[in-house]
Structure formats: C-alpha cells, structure tokens
Amino acid sequence: MSSVEFRKDLFREERDDNLQEIGKPTRRQDILGHVTGRSPYYDDHLFDGLLHMRCVRSPHHHARIRSIDTGAAERMPGVIRVILARDVPNNLNTLLSLINFGKDEEKLIQDTKVAYVGEPVAAIIAETDRQARDACAAVKVDYEVLPHVLDPEEALSPQAPVVNEVYPNNTFDYHDLYDHQKLRFGDVDKGFAEADHIVEGEYQMSPIEQAPIETCGAIAAPETNDRYVCYTSTQALFFSLGTTAKLLDMPSSRLHFIGGTVGGGFGGKVDSIVEPLSVLGAVLAGRPVKFMWDRTEEMQVGAPRGAERWRIKDGVARDGRILARAFTGFFDAGAYTRLSSYAIIKCSAHLPGPYTIPNVAANVFCVFTNRTPATAMRGFGITGVDFAIECHMDKVAEAVGLNPIELRILNAYRDGDMKPHRRLAKNTALIECCQVAAQKSGWSIGAEAARQSSLLGGGGPRAEIPETVTDMAGQIGERRRSVIPTAPGEGASARGNVPAGTQGIPIVAAAPQDEDMIMDPSRTGYRGPSSTPTRIPEAAIATDTRPQAAAPASPPPPAARPGPVAPSGSSQVLQPALQPALSPPAPQASPEPPATAPQPPAPDAASQPYKPEKPFSRGVNRPGVSRFLSGSRRR
C-alpha cells in the first residue's frame, strides 16, 4: 500500500500553484489505448509477407573466426537470405559517433573476431521465425578460441588479452590523453592528513537487465517511394535513424522511422542494433523484415546496465565533516563502448554526491572485458556510485558516532556551494528531503539538524575553488607497459597545480531563437529562488532529545566552522539557530542576503552567477559536430 502527500508548504515562495493544467492529475493520453490493448507498439503493425530475422551468435567469450559455412543454411526451407559482415555497407560504428564521442569500433555483424558470448556473426532471414532459427543452427562457424578476460581490473594488467583492437589498452581513451576520466578539486592528500579518521570501502554492482516487457525489435519494409519505413521500439528515434543511415551508407532521407509507443525501455532500447539490421534485411530481401529479440537475447545479448566497482577513501574530521574524498571507479563496459564512456563523464560530474567536500579526486575507468557490452539504464552512470557513496556515508557516520541523517545534513551541499566540477550549486533541496524523510519515518534527528536549510549557510568561502593538485598518471598506453596504481594521485610522478579560483565559463541554454517563443515570466509558475528558508515545521520532526554531549553531533553552519574550507568572516553566514524555529517563512532581520518577499525572476548577478540571461556565445572547440546537432558534417 502506498500513500503520497504533496508538501506544498515547502518552497512555496518559489512557485505559483495556480496553474490551469500543470499540477492536475489528468489521465494519461494513452491510457485508453493501453486498457483496450490497442496502443500501437512496433509489432502491432501488420505486413503481408513479413519475413523474420534471427542471428547466429558467438558461443565463445573471445575467438577468432576462421571461417563461416552458410551453405547448408542457405538451402534450408524458407530461408530467403543469409547476411554476413560483407553485406553491411559501412560495418563499423560507435553509438555516440552521432555526437562525436569515441571511435568507431563495433561491427553490426562480426567477421574476424568475436569478443563476447552472443556477438552476431550472421543474420538469417526466413519465411517464419522457426525457419530462421533452424537455419541459424545449421550455420557452421570455425572458431579459434582466444584467451579472454572478464574482470575489469585484470583487464588493466599488461598481460591481459586485447578485447577490442580499437582500444588496445582495454580502456577507453579520454581526451586523447588518459586511460580514465579524472576529477581533481583541492588536494585530497592534504585533506587525509588533516583528518581524524580515514574511512575506506569497496563496492560492487553486478550487471542489471533493463527487462522491458516488450523486447527490443523493429520491422522494416520497402515503401512505395523508394524509401524504407521502420517501426521500432527505440527510445531515441533519430539516434536509431542516424545509426542506420551510417551503417547502411544510405541517405537519411530514405529512412522513415516510426515509433513513440514503446513497451518499456529503461535504457535498453537506445543501442540501435535491431533497426539497422531490420532495414538491411528489407533492403536485401525487398520485403518486410522483422527483427525482434526473444527474451533470452534481451537478457543475455541485449546490453545491460554494466557492472561497476568503486573504492572510496574518506578523510573525516572528528565532528563528522568530510575533509577529503577520493574515488577509484571501474565501469565494466564489456566488449564495446556503447554508452559506458559517456556515463563515466556524467558520473564524474556527479562526484562526490550531494555533499560539499573541500578536497575531491576521482579516477574513473571505462574498461573493456569479454562480456556483453553495457549500455544505459535508468539512473545511468549514477545508480552504482550512489550505492557506493550512501553505503559509505553510513560507514563514516559509524566511524564518528553520528546519526546517519545528521551526518548527511552536516555535509549536505547548499545553494551557492562550489561543486568539484567547478560550477555552483543552486536550487538544492537535499537537506529538506532528509528532514522530511526523518519526519515521515519517525527517525529522530537533533534539533540543530532539523533547523538547517538548503538556502542558508552555503556560498561564501564554500563557493571558492581551491588550489588544486593535478597529475598526469595513467596516460594512454602507460598501463600497458607496466602496472601502475589506479587510485588518484598514487604513484603519480609529474604533479601539476591549478591555481585557486580557476574556472571556465558555465554553459547555459541557447536562448529562444525568436522573442515570440519566450514565455511571459508571469505564466511560468516560477518565482525565482527565495532567500528565506523553507521550514519543515519543527514540531513535526521527531527531534532527538537525548543530551548531546561533547561530540558535536549537530551541524554548525558550515561556513562558520573552523577548517580549511571555512575561513571566518563570511558575510553570507546567517545564524539559523537564532531564527524562531516555528516561525513561518517570512522576511528575517538578517544582514545578508536581503530577505525579501517572493520576487519576480530577476535576481542580481552576484547571487545568480550563471542565470541564462544571454544566449550562449562561446564556440564549440571540438571539430566536426554531428549533423544532428548543428548541421555541420560529422567527422
């Protein structure tokens, strides 16, 4: 049983709640179709003479293909066409080439070497699904089995077999420089040295299947106008269309993709494998072709949420403040990149989680192993590391003897804090979520924790970018020559230094191209950030009334704390403890920022450093942006 309450009392100054249609529990537009079974999923389009495609797949983790004998299969009843690698016009791709990220490395159909169990080496089109399966069983592939590697850290060793020849170091190449993505903010070694506790942990997430109830699939058919229509379960219509155009070396104008009603995706329908294969089938057979994964393929050949391994090292002050946090992360990409490389960048920007920590470093590796390639899934790039971070936070709480919720509130990021990716936090609400969850569950937290606010105590010195130690460890290929440590900073010979305050220009949304597209601000329902803290009515929070002795279990206003992050004298610091806890949100007699009533969204530049007032103007310095992005030709 579930219950839902909408806490309209919180952040009410920042919203209008009088909109006409927004906020209404309107029935889904598609619900009638769902309950009558008539929502048109891709497989609900009937074609006369529909043919069925199935794949011949590798039984080996890693093997060289000596030969493929399709003779018997071609003579089997109902078989229309056997498709091999040579039939794919442009048989090399990487999914994110459409946004110029990564090198082409994966064949639609393999002909030289298989790198995971299930990799396709042939596709067969037949009159019925069963005939296609029977013909697949009759294809004889002569393999030379090669040594394989399945553990990502073993794959980093100089002795490990090369999984993917385009990345011969078994790691994705980041920025043409390193075999991993770095994040550096401050000096973690200094933070560890100042810490009272060092808390370390290792975390592992195994691969997870998206498991939509509709399996991945597509039906392609010749259209009367010399084009091909493709009904697809894709989550990304133009990704699939663009990938198909590229692999088939076909003008995108000859492709007509139709989808939009999909039986669950969860990230598993982005990879654009079934679309190019079904269109290729329709081209070669001249008839409608369906390629639908069965459940076994969906589970073992379809790319899962990849495995991740994380090591976290924290330096923690006696009072629970985390002074430094270092991550070493391994994304097990499987045999090809798909989306793992990109997830790591998203993940790196997410570190160290929703906390303000003055010294943060991370090395995150995208490692190739001989397993099914990994791809997107709900929470992509974040779910695994959030598991690690939040398990680790409990270990930190135990180490310092703090209530786990209070520990989070103590370290929580707040409006105006600088994050390690060097952009300011705004619109934060972690503290309020902690307080409400504590309240709903009846988990006591201290009165001071219950008084904290995301709107207060951030910024000031917490907005500053510290002097940052960098290193050049882990350059591409270095790890192939000798074993070097994977953790940030360890074993690094050449160290560098980025001066305090160094920051580039934040990127904001492109402005509307025409002023007619700019919505009247009074109709957006958005009133701008409030300067008055939203208040969880304190009486409603089960506050811990136990005597709080020597241990500083309750969080001081972060900026007022002594320590490397918090030089004193910030004019931003309010005195939350002085505010009447039960008073409604209202103008307070506090020095700064000026307490105001709800404002129109016209904040001053100082408190809103990167409000998108002006159209983006900085050039993109990466050459050859995708035609789907800017109209220029892809590299």
Binding site: H350, E390, H421, A429, I507
Partner: protein
C-alpha cells in the same frame, strides 16, 4: 529462527538531462481549423508519460483546456528532431521545446483574436476554458475556436509554433574534470524498514518512507507512478537483479523471468511518499523529471538497513540471501546495531 528488524537511510541528488548538454529537442504546434491544437514530436513514450506531460505543458502554455490538445509522436517524417527518451531529459528538454513552440502559437492566437476584437494583443488573456478575453473586460471575448476559424479562413494566418531547446555541449577538462554537466538536480531521501532472517539470510522489506524533490509535479499522478514504480525497481535492484549472478564469472546468466529475479506482486512494500517541489529555473514550470532518480536511494538504504539489522555490510549488489548468510557466518552470527 530469529528475525531482526533493521532501518536504513540514504539520500541522493540526480542530474536532469543528458550530461554535457548538446542534446536538443524540438517541437511543433499547430491549430486545427477550429482551434484544437496538435503537438508534433519525435520523443518516445516508454510508459513514463511523455505524451501526457507534454500535452499538459502545451495546454498550459497555450492557455487552452488539455482536452483541446493532443500529442503526436514519433514519426520522423512529421516530428521534428528529438535526441530521445533517456537521462531524465524528456520533461526538461522536450517540455521546454514544447513551451517555446506553444508560446509562439499562442502569440499568433492572441494576435488573431486581437484583430477580431479590435484591441491590442497585449491586452488579451486566455481563461483556460477555450475563451480569450480583454483583460479587465471579460465581456469582450472570443472563443479560441472562432479565433482559429477567423485566423485560418479570413485573416490568412497560421496558429502554429516552433520550439527547440538546447544546452550547447560542454567540454571536459582532462586534468580537473571541469565541465558544465547539467542545469538542475532532483533530490530524494528515504528510510527503509526491513527484516533479516538470520538463519537463511532472507531480507523482507516492510516499509519505505521517502521524500522526493521533483521541482514541480507537473502531473501528480504521473509523478506518483514514477516514484512508486521506481522504488519497486530500487528494491529489485538491491535484493534480486543481475544478469550475471556470479559476476565476473559469466555462468548461470538468467534467460527468462523465472531465473531473472524481481519482486512479485506478493512483495509490494508499503511506501509513504512526500513530494517536495522546488522549481528549477530553466525547467518547464520548474519540473525536473523524476523518472530515473527514484530507484537510486533505495539500494543503499536497504544495504544500510541490513547492516543495522544484523551487522553485515552488504557492499556487493544484489544483496542476495547468500551474501547476507555468508556475512552472518563470518561474523559468528547476527550483530544487531541498535534500534533507530
């Protein structure tokens, strides 16, 4: 047999939209002859409610009843480009594109009405019921339907709009990781209550109390769908799911739903949700997109609750009975960590 109760906490934030930007979405809006509106997209409804939420956004922006708006997606011949439905980008990116397209269409609508009413367009307002009034003079009014007919059959004016939303791509500094990843974050915190059987290692989740901050609940029932279903998936990830039960060994990978484990309808967890709404500046009506983040806090909260119940740190997912039992044996039995 001893069953130990445990309680665990976790909180998270979640970046909304494709990292680094560079992920545009477009929308087209046009009026039918009598003033109903069609929204054309290439976005995908995977069940998250893309068609429904963009419909409400279009209706709100146009100032017309939701019943007068329908969303058509995704046909590459008629729908403008959309990067796709992933990374919690739909509500934010597509929603913003729809706002721009519907805003332009609304401008044309009001200009057409102004011509009919012989007033300035700036003096007009919509009532959300299908009428356009002169501000402060509600009797000077025209229906949206009459306006559309006049515009398209008398004035020679289309009531249509185009919209694109793009956050241009951000570079990443190779040495520091500096970048502009996304523009807004959703938040969540939750408490899990569960029981652990110390002879079998079996974990039973009894209750979740949660707070999810979603910017704005554009449709509260769609938000509820995501949060309840997402928390279920979180429990499933935490305790059940993997395609490789003996990772990194690849043996015994499940090939059907008997072997790929997920909680059944007999394991529905009582889930009490509070929804917080702190609107984000550049999000459509402040809404951030709750679809992905809702599962994330459940995984660590369960691990933390198992530790609280029996003193076994479960740092490897999924937290199978075997992993709990091995931990119990290694510890010489359950070590409850105290009532929370």
């Amino acid at each position: 047999m001893t069953v130990h109760k445990g309680r665990g906490f976790a909180c998270i934030n979640y970046p909304i939209g494709m990292n680094l930007g560079g992920d545009p979405s477009q929308a087209l809006v046009h009026s039918t002859p009598d003033g109903k509106f069609m929204v054309s997209l290439s976005s995908i409804d995977l069940g998250q409610g893309m068609k429904s939420v963009t419909r409400q956004i279009a209706a709100e922006t146009l100032g017309v009843p939701v019943a007068d708006v329908y969303v058509d997606t995704a046909d590459s011949d008629t729908g403008p480009h959309c990067m796709g439905s992933f990374a919690s980008r739909g509500t934010h990116r597509v929603g913003n594109a729809v706002i721009r397209a519907a805003t332009e269409a609304r401008k044309a609508l009001l200009e057409a009405a102004a011509e009919e009413l012989e007033v300035n367009a700036a003096d007009l307002e919509t009532d959300g019921q299908g009428n356009i009034h002169v501000k402060g003079a509600p009797t000077r009014t025209i229906t949206v339907a009459d306006t559309a007919i006049a515009a398209q059959f008398k004035q020679g004016r289309t009531l249509s709009g185009r919209g694109i939303f793009l956050i241009p791509p951000s570079d990443v500094d190779p040495d520091t990781g500096e970048m502009t990843p996304v523009s807004c974050f959703a938040h969540a915190a939750l408490v899990v209550d569960l029981e652990v059987d110390d002879e079998t290692g079996e974990v039973t989740v009894n209750e979740i109390n949660s707070a999810y901050e979603v910017g704005r609940a554009l449709n509260p029932r769609l938000v509820e769908q995501q949060l309840i279903g997402g928390a279920w998936m979180g429990v499933s990830h935490a305790l059940y799911e993997t395609t490789e039960p003996y990772y990194p060994d690849r043996n015994h990978g499940p090939e059907d739903f008997n072997a790929y484990l997920m909680p059944g309808p007999g394991e529905v967890v009582d889930h009490n949700i509070a929804v917080l709404e702190r609107p984000a500046e550049d999000a459509p009506f402040g809404g951030k997109g709750p679809g992905e983040m809702c599962a994330n806090p459940v995984l660590p909260a369960i691990a933390n609750a198992v530790y609280n119940a029996v003193g076994v740190r479960c740092d490897t997912l999924p937290i199978t009975p075997e992993r709990v039992l091995r931990g119990l044996l290694a510890n010489g039995g359950a070590r409850p960590q105290g009532v929370r």
